[in-house]
């Protein structure tokens, strides 16, 4: 059991962090936009943590599923295509598309061992990336798709939004995305926590801990694994769709490469496997560092205007893979379960 005093500290810390982030949103809209991205990536990390943490499948292609969500939304909404989907229908379609892709990839892999599973998902990620790049009649290739039209705020919400002073037009004010994505993140975090604690979650953990024993107890191993893959992939696709709306485009396919998958994996390993809190905390620590603090340090260094080979050593982003790599190595060595591990 956790000592109640420590839990209090953790909540106070989380509260403080939340206040700081909200302040950032109002004082610096650009940084606020980055925080919105962190909410979106947290949703993907929760999904990844279902697959890796709860069900024990070492998935290295989560960014590809995220990318499938991004591109489904892009294809369904951009004005040059005839579909003209709205926010909710595109969100739903992207979620379903990613879930379908995740399950279709997963079904033949159920009997593969951990490291082979990891490689197939990695290769899948590369195939998706190259395909997005090459099918340029549909995906726009490296030019990417855009613009994704902003969602429309329903009339009954305009009043409360006005009270918060966050505007009523998604195209005009990023802060609407902030509150929308925060609300979705909280809803999903609550939902996944419930599922994790339910019969489904117990099945996933049983299969993760000992597949054979789980099968002997009458658990349908294939169904348990596929359901975890479906949920995790769906969340990655949903996050991808939100991301496309947030950045009003799809970004180039290379944004959804192996490094992105590995950094999300790093986030859940830092935060803690098999826990929703862990996924969110890890995303804010790892991706927060990557998206907010590293660029800030870079711009601080930029003011000195370093040049040449020494300049390369001074640019902070040139060290980020080294830092992530060392972080992964140190974690595996000293705290393989992360900061806030679940069951």
């Amino acid at each position: 059991m956790r000592a109640p005093r420590r839990a209090g500290w953790a909540e106070a810390g989380a509260g403080l962090l939340a206040v700081v982030y909200v302040l950032v949103l109002y004082l610096d809209p650009a940084a606020g936009g980055q925080v919105t991205n962190l909410f979106i990536f947290s949703i993907a990390a929760i999904g990844l943590n279902v697959i890796v943490g709860s069900a024990g499948m070492f998935h290295l292609g989560i960014a590809a599923l995220f990318g499938i969500g991004v591109y489904t939304t892009g294809i369904l909404t951009v004005p040059t295509n005839p579909f003209g989907c709205g926010f909710w229908s595109a969100l739903g379609a992207s979620t379903l598309a990613a879930a379908a892709a995740g399950v279709m990839l997963g079904a033949p892999l159920l009997r593969l061992r951990g490291d082979y599973f990891a490689l197939v998902t990695l290769a899948f990620g590369e195939v998706v990336r190259f395909s997005l790049r090459n099918l340029d009649e549909v995906t726009g290739g490296t030019r990417a798709l855009g613009p994704v039209p902003p969602p429309v705020l329903p009339g009954w919400l305009a009043g409360p939004a006005g009270l918060l002073g966050i505007g009523r037009d998604f195209a005009q004010d990023d802060r609407l995305f902030y509150w929308l994505d925060l609300a979705l993140l909280l809803a999903i975090a609550g939902l996944v926590s419930r599922i994790d604690a339910s019969r489904w979650g117990r099945r996933w953990r049983a299969v993760r801990d000992d597949e054979l024993a789980a099968a002997c107890l009458g658990i349908n191993v294939a169904r348990a694994k596929l359901s975890a893959l479906a949920l995790g992939s769906a969340l990655a696709g949903l996050a991808g769709s939100l991301y496309a709306f947030k950045i009003t485009g799809t970004a180039s396919p290379d944004a959804y490469d192996f490094n992105r998958s590995a950094i999300l994996l790093c986030a859940i390993l830092v935060g803690g496997l098999a826990s929703v809190r862990g996924a969110v905390v890890g995303t804010f620590l790892v991706l927060g560092f990557d998206n907010l603090i590293a660029p800030w340090l870079d711009s601080a260094v930029q003011r000195w205007q370093p040049t040449g080979a020494e300049g390369r050593l001074l640019v902070f982003s040139n060290w980020r893979l080294l830092i992530f790599g060392l972080l992964l190595i140190a974690l595996m060595r000293f705290r393989p379960t992360g900061l806030l591990p679940g069951k």
Binding site: D115, L122, L212, L331
Partner: protein, 304 residues
């Protein structure tokens, strides 16, 4: 047989030999510690950067033919030694403490090690592609205006063949090779009969690194471009080759590499250049799903 087809077959042969060289190191390490050494591709990359630095320091780019030949021989000794050292250090510092840990811990660490090494590469030469001096003349060895098989292609195939034969003989006939095979079969039993398993593992990593070093010299001389990102993609290709042939199996790695080289060159002929990478990874998926033991590997039943 049309001329373009023959030309692509020859390109495939040379490329495939390169993949095979990198794949050999992958397969040896996997055979013994059952670890996918993600960092292997980045050891290969660092080898290329080291070769580039050596070429620059020695001024080989504008030396006479005799000096150049001596320089290439020097590269083929110094770079493998460097890569062996890097791979050995990665094993000692990163993997060895995790020998008894659950299987995924070393895999995550391997991704970490790969990031660290590729970042070192970035700090070493920067983010842009750097061209590697063209030390070997593009003299065509086949007479007439027909398909090209240059001195470079010859070098790749010859070095790969020689390495492959030497390695097979080493593993088959030397004492250390025997100890490696024993460790691969059953580390615990090997330890019980007095084989210093940790030393054998260290030797395997050193040897695997040296092979990556040979491959990196040949690659740099052949492709003439190096970048800090070349490790990831080439490492994945090599791993695909190793899996294709049956991971842990030395002749398998050779066959897998050649198959992959041919798939790539024929793919670029029939499907178009841009689909080659996607088709290689699609093959990796199909092989892992339908024949995880590869061409030459034997099926291992999961023990309870």
């Amino acid at each position: 047989m049309s001329q373009t087809l023959l030309e692509h077959l020859l390109i495939g042969l040379a490329n495939g030999s390169l993949f095979a060289l990198v794949a050999l190191g992958y397969t040896m390490v996997y055979g013994i510690v059952e670890l996918i050494n993600f960092a292997h591709g980045d050891v290969f990359m660092l080898g290329s950067l080291f070769a580039l630095t050596l070429v620059g320091t020695l001024g080989l780019a504008d030396a006479g033919p005799a000096t150049t030949a001596a320089g290439i021989v020097l590269l083929l000794v110094a770079v493998p030694a460097f890569c062996a050292l890097v791979n050995l250090s990665v094993d000692r510092l990163v993997y060895q403490p995790l020998r008894q840990a659950p299987r995924l811990a070393p895999l995550v660490s391997a991704i970490g090690a790969s990031f660290v090494l590729s970042n070192i590469g970035l700090l070493w030469i920067g983010a842009a592609d750097v061209s590697f001096p063209d030390l070997i003349p593009r003299r065509n060895l086949l007479s007439g205006a027909g398909p090209q098989f240059t001195l470079k292609d010859m070098l790749v195939v010859a070095v790969t063949m020689a390495t492959m034969i030497g390695l097979t003989a080493f593993v088959k006939y030397t004492k250390l090779g025997k100890a490696m095979r024993a460790t691969a079969q059953d580390p615990l039993a090997a330890q019980l009969v007095g084989i210093p398993v940790e030393r054998v593992i260290a030797a395997t990593f050193a040897l695997g690194g040296a092979l990556a070093g040979v491959a990196s010299v040949v690659y740099s001389l052949y492709v003439n471009t190096v970048s800090y990102q070349m490790g990831f993609q080439n490492g994945l290709y090599a791993f695909t080759a190793a899996v294709l042939g049956g991971i842990g199996n030395l002749p398998g790695a050779m066959i897998g590499g050649l198959t992959l080289g041919l798939v790539r060159s024929l793919g670029s002929l029939y499907l178009g250049e841009r689909w080659t990478s996607a088709s290689v990874f699609a093959i990796l998926i199909l092989v892992l799903v339908f024949r995880p033991q590869g061409f030459l590997g034997s099926r291992v039943r999961e023990k309870v």
